[in-house]
Subunit: 201 residues, 2 copies
Amino acid sequence: MTTASEPKRRGRRAGGADTKAVLLDAAREVFIERGYEGATVRAIAAKAGVDAAMVNHWYGSKENLFAQAVLKLPFDPTELVKRLLDGPPEETGERIVRNFIGVWDASGGGPFVALLRSVTSHDGVATMMREFFLNNVFRRITEKLVVDQAELRAALCASQVVGMGLTRYVVRFEPFASADVEVVVGAVGPNLQRYLTGKIG
Amino acid sequence: MTTASEPKRRGRRAGGADTKAVLLDAAREVFIERGYEGATVRAIAAKAGVDAAMVNHWYGSKENLFAQAVLKLPFDPTELVKRLLDGPPEETGERIVRNFIGVWDASGGGPFVALLRSVTSHDGVATMMREFFLNNVFRRITEKLVVDQAELRAALCASQVVGMGLTRYVVRFEPFASADVEVVVGAVGPNLQRYLTGKIG
DNA sequence: GCCGTATTTCATCGTTTGTTGAAAATTAGC
DNA sequence: GCTAATTTTCAACAAACGATGAAATACGGC
């Protein structure tokens, strides 16, 4: 068996860097930049400074590497929802915008762009986005707010939030893409709030 | 010269169908379904029922075929803008939603999905989306409405509209994806209207 | 019916893709 | 220092890609 679930590290390379981790970081970068199909195993290995065969040695396949590097959530959605619900209910929309833009901006929009860039070429990315945005985040929020049409409201919020990400990080509609966080909060927040607690009929 | 800008049709094949046009339709379908990189010249030719070499014979390259089949607008933006502005200004948001959803639904979301599926793998798609949504549509609308922050308002509208498309056709957030057009109009229209003429500061 | 051109077919080229297995290099345990 | 396990390198594989050019076919003009 060479798939190496958890190496017992008998040998180690000169640089001392952990190849498996370096490979994961490089993979994340390249997947973000080029999407699943656009990212080649050789390009990932090159960015990591190792041989291409290391990918299959440490992760078995490109597919599995993608799952580890991109598909796996880097944080706990429960914590995020708690933060979004913490405060006046009538300001939930603004908090949602502030949080998402804040997190995404901090990483240059990376994780979101990675998902979107691969939503075409990799089965399961769309499912994963549904799972996250709808079931793990917005559905839980509309649940707590006790409103009618909870599912539709959640989907509406998701539509505005992913649209925000698409606009700001991928297609880059100016001046929205470069606008200050608080400008976006002031603009989008109230609309999100209407989706959450307003009249949508 | 064999690139055939406008063939003088000396010869014709048994079926009588115009290969160039058949190829264009097949290309549009496959590009929509698999994106630029995912769509192979051979798959397009197969769907058109012709040899793969026909692609290069009639269009020179896969690149050019993509431009002809997907990148080229199938309609006049000016006409669309006129339609969107025709009516009470306070209902512009609703008209925008009704029009876009109407057009997209009629084609199963095809054109929009094609753009989004290829926004990763083909240079110029993002530029083309900016050109269309911002400069050709929403920027012209906010211009006519004579409002402050016209650029930002246009970008905000674009963010909601592309988010709508992404949600309804690509990631398919339910129940939004299957909702009746008028439900979407009632839900999203007012938000779009606020982006157009409301207070966004 | 012949000729020239347009169209189509076919075989094939040169790359690039993910993946594999054997050999080489490196390190820990003793 | 020897051994065994691990990690890395290297060469190569089969498959699929876009593209090309020559040969074969179909058809209108005459």
